[in-house]
């Protein structure tokens, strides 16, 4: 498989629509770590996460006709599929809210053994970002993005008024963007 090739998003989309398995292989090699990162962080269970990752790529393969280039980038579309599929699975497992928080605190990324197993990943960058975000800022972003929490749930968890959730989120993301710009 010509992994040394690179493809533009348009070439990828055209290849997928033409049912080109080489392109699909490239897509997998290129994007599976990002999508698996999302799925695993949502579910916190490697066995379930592998199954869900497979489901995500099947949805991409089978649903590429539904992707609309006008609406956004291919990566955004794929991330949404990964996040939604994983969060649906999480909900079907009937996770309680406090379990979600517990999982965030026992995040796989905080376990050094986990990081050592996957040396390809840019831990240094992540560590830098996480150091500069406050715990509350990180929690609010992760609860929303990785656990699919609603504004009400976040207000309850962080013990803040419902009306301030959006403001806190805005500040957290602005801080995140500032940090990313400095990298």
């Amino acid at each position: 498989m010509g992994t040394s090739n690179t493809y533009t998003e348009i070439e990828l989309v055209q290849g997928l629509r033409a049912r080109d398995q080489q392109i699909f292989g490239y897509l997998y090699d290129h994007y599976s770590p990002a999508l698996y990162g999302v799925v695993l962080k949502v579910l916190n269970d490697e066995n379930i996460a592998s199954d869900v990752l497979q489901e995500v790529f099947l949805k991409i393969w089978r649903g590429i006709e539904k992707y609309d280039t006008e609406k956004g980038r291919l990566f955004t579309w794929m991330l949404n599929i990964a996040r939604n599929t994983a969060i649906d699975t999480l909900r079907s497992k009937a996770h309680k809210l406090d379990q979600k928080i517990h999982e965030l605190n026992n995040d796989v990324y905080l376990q050094t053994s986990q990081l050592a197993v996957h040396p390809s990943v840019d831990h240094l960058g992540l560590t830098k970002v996480l150091e500069k975000l406050s715990k509350e800022q990180r929690t609010i972003i992760d609860l929303a993005y990785y656990k699919g929490c609603t504004q009400e749930e976040i207000a309850r968890v962080l013990d803040i008024p419902l009306g301030t959730v959006k403001t806190r989120m805005r500040n957290a993301i602005i801080q995140l963007r500032t940090i990313l710009k400095q990298m």
Binding site: P33, Y36, L58, V165, L176
Partner: protein
């Protein structure tokens, strides 16, 4: 449109973090269509959020890609994966202990057959996966899988026909008259069988809840009673009438239904001494 208002409201950040509600998302999408400036702003935040997500990439386990490709290749040769995806549910249902329901429309054996076929198929698929590196083996097993799939599809068709019959029956029963028939002689207490009768279509269904097993040379016979006169509505076998519903002869009118025990094949007139259950048609 006041783009600045959107930007400072925090809705963009809520949106990229997945926090925005459905109406908020729709509102933002339609606003983005009207304003390229807003769209640029949203795209910039989205890009940064994706960088954050990307930083948390993890290499997935090695086996996933192989399984994925095996699946899409099966996908292209057949719709088998859909059958597989639908597989585990019925298999699971079989494992759950089920209380006996009076209206059992599909014979349990069919569930077992379907579950067994699905389990067999999954096991076969797994085995193939294990052997994928050995081409010859792979091919043989693949052919076996295709055969098995065809067998399964045929079985599924039978199953589906049964389901359709059952669904039709269920829909019909809702509009039918229900006539419970109880014990008529004190020496045989606690007997019960129920007739469902549609005076319009003249259709009659019978289900047996409790009747003693007849001798091998005997059969139960159903009668409709019209103005005091019994009219033959057919004989029935216990195996079908106790497991589900037995379709009987058409009945044009009836004030009562009764069941007698007769010689095998039935009698032209009922043996009143061996009447087991009877019930009046309501209304």
């Amino acid at each position: 449109m006041d783009v600045q208002r959107y930007i400072s409201s925090g809705i963009i950040e809520s949106f990229v973090a997945g926090l925005a509600t459905d109406p908020e998302v729709r509102d933002l999408h339609s606003a983005m269509e009207q304003s390229p400036e807003l769209r640029t702003a949203v795209d910039a935040v989205q890009l940064d959020m994706e960088t954050y997500v990307n930083l948390q990439s993890i290499q997935p386990p090695a086996g996933v890609k192989d399984k994925l490709f095996l699946q899409i290749n099966n996908d292209q040769s057949s719709e088998m994966t859909d059958v597989l995806a639908a597989g585990p549910a019925p298999a699971y249902e079989v494992e759950v202990p089920r209380e006996r329901k009076p209206l059992k429309l599909v014979h349990p054996a069919w569930r077992v057959v379907a579950a067994a076929a699905i389990v067999g198929l999954i096991a076969c698929g797994y085995y193939i996966n294990q052997q994928a590196s050995q081409d010859n083996e792979w091919k043989t097993k693949y052919e076996a899988l295709v055969n098995e799939k065809e067998t399964m599809l045929a079985e599924q068709k039978v199953f589906q026909t049964r389901m359709e019959e059952s669904e039709h029956m269920l829909a019909t029963i809702r509009t039918m008259k229900m006539v419970p028939m109880y014990t008529v002689t004190p020496t045989r207490p606690g007997l019960l069988a129920t007739v469902y009768w549609d005076p319009k279509s003249q259709e009659v269904l019978l289900t047996v809840h409790n009747l003693p097993e007849p001798a091998p040379d005997q059969q139960y016979q159903l009668w409709s009673i019209v103005n005091g006169k019994p009219v033959d509505a057919g004989v029935f076998d216990m195996s079908k009438a106790t497991g589900g519903f037995q379709k009987m002869k058409a009945v044009t009118s009836a004030q009562m239904f009764a069941v007698t025990l007769e010689k095998k094949g039935g009698s032209p007139t009922p043996t009143l001494a061996s009447m087991f259950v009877a019930g009046k048609v309501a209304g």
